[in-house]
Symmetry: C2
Subunit: 556 residues, 2 copies
Amino acid sequence: PESTHKQIQMGALRLPALTSIFTSSSSVRSSPAIFPLKRCLRLPLRRPFSAQSTTEKVVAPELGDGKGKVVDKDKDRVITPRSQDFNAWYLDVIANAELADYGPVRGTMVIRPYGYAIWEAIQEYMNVKFKETGHSNMYFPQFIPYSFIEKEASHVEGFSPELALVTVGGGKELEEKLVVRPTSETIVNHMFTQWIHSYRDLPLMINQWANVTRWEMRTKPFIRTLEFLWQEGHTAHATAEEAEEEAMQMIDVYTKFAYEQAAIPVIAGRKSRVETFAGASTTYTIEAMMGDRKALQAGTSHNLGQNFSRAFGTQFTDENGQRQHVWQTSWAISTRFVGGIIMTHGDDAGLLLPPRLAPVQVIIVPIWKKDNEKAGVLTASSSVKETLQAAGIKVKIDDSDQRTPGWKFNYYEMKGVPLRIEIGPRDVSSGTLVISRRDVPGKQGKVFGISMEPSALVAYIKDKLNEVQSSLLERATTFRDSNIVDVSSYDELKEAIAQGKWARGPWSAGDEEESKVKEETGATIRCFPFEQPEGPKKCLMTGNSADEVAIFAKSY
Amino acid sequence: PESTHKQIQMGALRLPALTSIFTSSSSVRSSPAIFPLKRCLRLPLRRPFSAQSTTEKVVAPELGDGKGKVVDKDKDRVITPRSQDFNAWYLDVIANAELADYGPVRGTMVIRPYGYAIWEAIQEYMNVKFKETGHSNMYFPQFIPYSFIEKEASHVEGFSPELALVTVGGGKELEEKLVVRPTSETIVNHMFTQWIHSYRDLPLMINQWANVTRWEMRTKPFIRTLEFLWQEGHTAHATAEEAEEEAMQMIDVYTKFAYEQAAIPVIAGRKSRVETFAGASTTYTIEAMMGDRKALQAGTSHNLGQNFSRAFGTQFTDENGQRQHVWQTSWAISTRFVGGIIMTHGDDAGLLLPPRLAPVQVIIVPIWKKDNEKAGVLTASSSVKETLQAAGIKVKIDDSDQRTPGWKFNYYEMKGVPLRIEIGPRDVSSGTLVISRRDVPGKQGKVFGISMEPSALVAYIKDKLNEVQSSLLERATTFRDSNIVDVSSYDELKEAIAQGKWARGPWSAGDEEESKVKEETGATIRCFPFEQPEGPKKCLMTGNSADEVAIFAKSY
């Protein structure tokens, strides 16, 4: 894993920017000069931004949508190497790949089209899964009477420091201030009391896609923002067992999504009591290891027990005519997941997207030197594009003549497009093309002479996309496993955390000891993983017998 | 059209509720008795709610999702006849068809799964059209600094009475109060200034699906709520011509949607100066005639000119190196459209959905008398369901044995499902089924002996769905046209409005005369329709020559 990691960095270092060839805006139109090249690496590299460009920095093209828009030369930016400053790298990638921008209000984020398209891919997958598992979409108002939030004791304790309050409406001071939803359990229960009468109305299983607001003090694009987008599922059941089954089912849906779509090998498990959602009986979580080895809570599913139904009086008449409180769950993933994808797969060259969530899976870069080559290359490129599109592959062609092929190579690598197709005049004559994998830099990831014959090409591209998908998961899994240390004592735990790793060890100590670990190491219990080692265990802190291992890590 | 209308009402009157056969909850499980019947109309009708049931009211089944849930017998509700009280009818339909419910905060609405599914169908269609016309989805924060709203003079004037303000965040009074977006032109321009540098960054064409908040005093579900869902498109262009073209393109997209998907024959046109959006140079609108003949503004597209770009300094460098303000548009449709669909097509029996937007296009009701018939009927029903589903038809089967077929007929008619399939034991033996159209009540809309053979059946059902779709549009168009009166004087206008109709007449008078019409008649200029009669015209108010006719109507 270390060598893989080094390889990626080295690969990235081999990819300095092939910068804009234009010296001013006006020259663009008057002399659309092209520096044509067949292979990126054969091009003599130019580094016009001597002040910024060092061998440690990759100059990334900035702005424009790749559709031939040219940036002002003094606007090019650089991506800080990931190993040098992970946080700076993360922010650079978000800015350069045009995933998001800061909003005018502190802590808010504008999700730009390319970032939003990743969220849409997540939504598309999830929506199908939610419906398959029996849930219906609906929409609850975002304004919640303040009194609602106060009804469930631990809920108000957890959320009241983070609330945004509407106090004026239509020019008048409101009698009761309104909470801008931080989550919807309270208003959901208020409505459930009106819809649930008997056991025949159960289970009630709904979901909503919505924005939520939490007044976070330390914000970071996608990861923690004042307003974010999410889905929140809410269900009510007649029995405790059904609620538990549902909570487990949904964490499984999230886990499967993480592995199969996002190529993120999350660890699924149960939260400690301290880390449980404000108002839940049990919280299940998926925890992902980011490239800096910090943990990211990427999705949660809560068994709410009867906490909210007792607070709101959400009751049903059971088969024996007895009134009972419903058993509930709620579960959510958010735009935070987009941040998780960036921080799991990205490298020094920029973003790296798993094919199944990539807004563009294949970018076609036509390459020509002479004017008389252009038509043939473009015709072949369009025809390849149509072939792939018809096969359901998300493909784009960048045929602008305002950028060099080399610039385009870098640009789409920085954008994380999984596969690149290059088509030059010689390819056209031979009826072949060149394919490059984003995840394997340089020659190693390049295959020449792939046939353009439609059925063969489609099969080949689909295979390659699957290969990239698997390879990303494999790489992330290797990285994860090599950074989890099994510990049997607090000293070992401290050492693992000090090394930036995750510590996994038996735990049966109390909340107080858990807080002590946090204070002394900065690490928290991420979860008690569902997958547990067999055999007798002794608590790493107390030496008492322990039923389970817990995973400790620093986290976002 | 009048006779059609009467016919619908009569049809509705023939469909009183076939009420629950259960006398108590507990009896349901112990004796799941069935009142089987082949044809709804042959069943002796029972009216257990003598207090409520009169020949003027249709008892509608309430609650439950049609999947075998049984309502408490004292919970059944009635739908007020449309002709008796249109508003009460509208609210009854929304409640009974479970489209929406009131939220806990005044003027807010909970959109329930069945109502939300209609919105999802609208989204699905629109999303494709927006992308086809070159727009990308993205997301802007909903909190806007108050100072932004003040920048465009007429914008602040239009929106400030309707704002919800966040004044407290994270437990602290905010230095600058935040507006919960009523619309996003201001924040969009704030961001556009950062993304637009030269003419090569134009056009910039985006859309967002979002919630918006307007502190309305008089609210009505779907039509006017404190918070609603919508899409808002925002574009920036290099020239006035391009902006105008875009604004027109998008009102055309809406018009086409209204006609082809919603079967609503809207009239597209230009708003008068008085009715123009706060901040726009020109507003284009689609105006729909509801069942009570009031107009509903169902979608708008604004040419914003340079109003916002001047207020926010949204500039670009043109091809000659000159700085210029961009030309902009914005356009929106909202959940209000769902209200428009209800009020256009619904009748005394309840909702009536155009097939292309119906969450369920075909409901299958299996019918059996004896236990030994059940298996065969259910097998045939399932197989029909699978056949239709595989053909992309939205089909559901209601095979619960807790409700009579008659009850189910009424229930799905009330829910507006365009087609019903009935399958009984005799149908199974003959390999046929019965189809009923929701829009043609009784025997007239019923066809017996349709073959179950898959390819024939799929073709038949698709034809029928298209027939219903066309027929709804035709009926609404006839209704609309018979309720628009051409007027040439103010007296004629007043009379038309007094009769509840729309008045169309030449208009070249000023804002003051327009206000006078509103004060004296309650009608406003809905639009200057794009389709104009030829020849010379004289203003109905002043007698001066007029270039255009305007349409006046009372509106929602």
